[in-house]
Amino acid sequence: MRSLIAMGVGWLVYCPLAVAAPDFETQVIPVLTKSGCNSGACHGAAIGRGGFRLSLLGYDPDLDYETMLRDLQGRRVNLVKPEKSLLLRKPTRDLAHEGGHKLAAGGDGYKLVRDWIAAGAPRETRRTLQSVEITPTTKTLPAAGEKFALKVIARYKDGATEDVTPWAVFTPTDTAALRINAEGEVMSLRRGQSAVMVRFLGEVGSVSVTVPLADEPVKGGRPRTNYIDDHVNRALDQLRLPHSPCASEETLVRRLYIDLIGTLPEPREVDDFVNDKSTDKRAKLVERLMQRPEFADFWALKWGDLLRIDSKRLQPEGAMAFHQWVRDQVVRNTPLDRMAREMILTLGDGHAVGPVNFSRIPGDAGNHAEHVSQVFLGVRLQCANCHNHPLDRWTQDDYHGLAAVFSKLSRGRSIALQAKGEVIHPKTGKSAVPRIPGVEFLTGDGDPREKFTDWLTSAENPYFARAAVNRLWRELMGRGLVEPIDDHRSTNPATHPELLQALAKDFVEHRFDVRHTIRTIVASEAYQRSSLAAGANKSDDRFYSRALLRPLPPAVMVDAVAKVTGVAEKLGNRPTGERAIALMDARVESTPLDLLGRCVRDNSCTPSLVGAGSLPLALHKINGPWLHDKIVSAQGKLHQSLANRKTDEEIVASFYETALGRKPSAKERAHWKTKLAADTPEERIGKFEDFLWALLNSTEFACNH
């Protein structure tokens, strides 16, 4: 009661004043955020702290106002004596505060909150934030220890602007690389590239800071074939990072075969390429590879991992229908926007109609929203289920709104549109309104999925193309421009933001033509570099100064072993000879595939950059039947060659050619001639078996280099 009266008095005092009271949403809450009060570790935790709960990073001003003003009979906010408010006394440590000293008494933040209380703690919203401008967004500093200042300008919907640098929250992604004070002054601590996340209210952004890795610029030019090289080279110049020369032709052929069709080249194919003297031979090879059935198999496998095609969830009929459909789209090079449309919108029987199965993967509308945003937007929406995303712009309205888009779908073998179905918004307790995340509510009649899909696949949607080209880049270059691949957000900047943008623009301009983007990437000099270090670029794993050494993907490795040994791998109950890259399902039994780390498709795994293995894999390679049975098989290539009286030199050369895609060097030939010399046929067999085993375990064989 007293607080109500006090409030009335407050209004009277406040109204005649010329100076406006601080605005609750855009001035008071930022003070709380800057001081850390509403962070997840303090009062912003779902359960609050010390009986005081604020919304995480101030995403829910109504809740915050309620808890500050109404709880504890107005003790938190004392309108009569503002200085006596717990809201001020606790964080200044005037009273015991478990969270420690958070606000300087008499400081700017303190004054804002006090003035707001003195003005009667008004709730009404005076202005709404439109955008935040951070300058600079990229900065190159000459050396560690150098500093620069960040500036954050808020733009409000009424046109007003304000320097909010003191109230923005700055977080370096790596505290060992950058230090930043509360006023926005950034100091670099080490060479390399790092970033600072910036947040003001719901708006977030990031600033990329580069300190060159060397004192002197790299001498000589940088090779270029297309726009990709412009961007990659610019970053290399900034970092003063030397680049490795172009890989040998043999290496390039092998690399293209593995990346495009998941298959080792035949020795004859390598020879043909090397002997071809035409200038466009590389482009022609790429075209030929994209016409091969293995191209369809291999890229359908990648799609299957991303889409989680699974015979348990979809039944074998559904998984087969989906796999076949995806493979057909790869063969036809269906534009990605059309593929997405069909997957999202098609209704019917999943066992008969392939793309329907996309909607059969998620178990409910919420999962559906997460799956769609992860696959097509490259965004993890999960956080926004329970609270607004702390690191991005996504809100609970976005999450539950997108879930509502899919709320009327029946979820069974058939997907149909029902008359009823809703998603309850946890904040309002009411039915969530369908919404295009970050854009608009879909209030009109009709199936909201249509409007959502129109937006998703429109040329203006910044997310769709970016997510797609980033995945393609990763498949071909070994690392996404944004990592993790499905975590695009303004606080997780790309290593080459302009390159990502350029690739996305190019993809849209070519009407979502996947093959066009593949062609463009593999044509770049960045793709064709050697994996061998050139001086100071040995530890580079993200600026493409050299090719990354990548372990063969599990399915490719299993197929490659079968090919080199000439003995097929038996995969579960699949017909002998069926290749691992052609499997429609990750449930087909295979110990080597498991130990190599295949994607099990039970949750949103993207084919990961598997390490070079584990102890169980090493044991299996040494003792297991996978390699052994093929090496000793009488029908296998080794024993056939030995039986057919091939010379030692011929056998060695032939295995080098199939496994490594190159001929042995003179040194290698001489070495093996001595090492494999044997007195008896048994000794010869043993030595050659051991040679083949070693070849299958060599780094050059097991990696795409």
Binding site: G40, A46, T173, D174, A176, R190, G192, S248, T251, G478, E483, P484, N492, S531, L532, A533, S539, D541, L548, L549, P551, T591, N603, S604, C605, S608, L609, G611, A612, G613, S614, L615, P616, A618, L619, H620, I622, N623, G624, H628, V632, L660, S665, K667, E668, H671, K675, K687, D690, F691, W693, A694, L695, N697, S698, T699, E700, A702, C703, H705
Partner: protein, 434 residues
Amino acid sequence: MRRCDGINRREFLRVGSLSALGLSLSDAFRLRALAQAGKKMPRCILIWLDGGPSHLDMFDLKPSAPEEVRGPFKPTDTKVPGFQICEYFQNLAAHTGKLCLIRSMTSELGEHNFGAHYLLTGYKPSPVLDYPSYGSVISHTRSGKPLLPSYIAVPGFSPYAANGYLPAACRPFAVGGDPSKAEFEVRDLEGQAGVTTSRLERRREFLGDLDRLSREIEESGPRQERDAHFEQAYRLILSPEAKKAFDLGQEKQEVRQRYGHRTIGQSCLLARRLIEAGCPFVTVTDSTWDHHANVFRTLKEGYAGGTDGKMIHLDKALSALLGDLDERGLLKETLVVVMGEFGRTPKLNTSAGRDHWPRAFSVLLAGGGVKGGQVVGKSDARGESPADRPVTPTDLAKTIYTLLGIDPDLELKTADNRPVQVNAGGNVVTECLA
């Protein structure tokens, strides 16, 4: 079985893929020397209850709290006066003299991945660095050429119980399979007929030749990683003694029965065998402790009317382990830790379950260097917050490292040469130390 978030092994945070090479050589030597300077190096068995066990129903009962908090279980007196645990820890009650129970654990990370990372490494997760877990740090600081891998996981491990920024050689060796099954064996320990030891050696030699002669490949992360795994694999394969440590068939039936026939029991027995054979760190991972529904039935009965609950099996396994280690004289040099990623909500939910609750929970310590027979800290009347002596996972980590003879201030190095302390900002819970 999955946890509620559906996430099993997803690596939610990643460092640059090829950059996990870890220490420089000189560091490794320094560490080894440091390790050798100590006398008997302590060992550790960590029993990880994945999902987050309910502190209120197992270790920190609140008989005077309202019904929706206290649940149906009653506390029972134990061997140590005043040291009460749940009545269904019938066997463990006889071993409280060995136990140090921390009831005032507190964390703010109530999500499985974050919580598991925090508890298993002592660090909150960071977007730029994956931290190594206890076993990996031990394995890193005590290299040498042991027959057994230095960090073994029975049967598998949480993704956060891994090597983090340390080299892949410090990753735990997961034995796989289910130790409670009659046909259980560790895969691929035995060789193929005809491939003799000398041929195994020749294969290794040829492999080295191939890599060395290649002009296409240079010394690199993937190669070092492969070499480390092959080296360990060879040590294991070529030692009959090491292989025997994995063979539960060597144990008498009475011993196997003592540990209980469930996976957790036989896993604890295997852990004891491995510790006895010289492995310094074994993690036993028991899954499905994420009891959002029917927490009491799951803990006590397993199925309606049964006597097959998770707590019953833990009781048997843990009591057998503590007793067995003690009888063999191993307990004084073997630290036993029992924990999960957080506790569970004091107030029951509508499915008779409890949700995630990191603000107050319990952790058990026993054995090597631990002062048993005591409860450290306490939670408030409803088990919501620490009422006294809050202990963070960072404090716990510093305590565990201290108990294991590892200097918590020791600086390890990441692949790009960044120094990172084994523990940062923790305080040793000195009451726990004997």
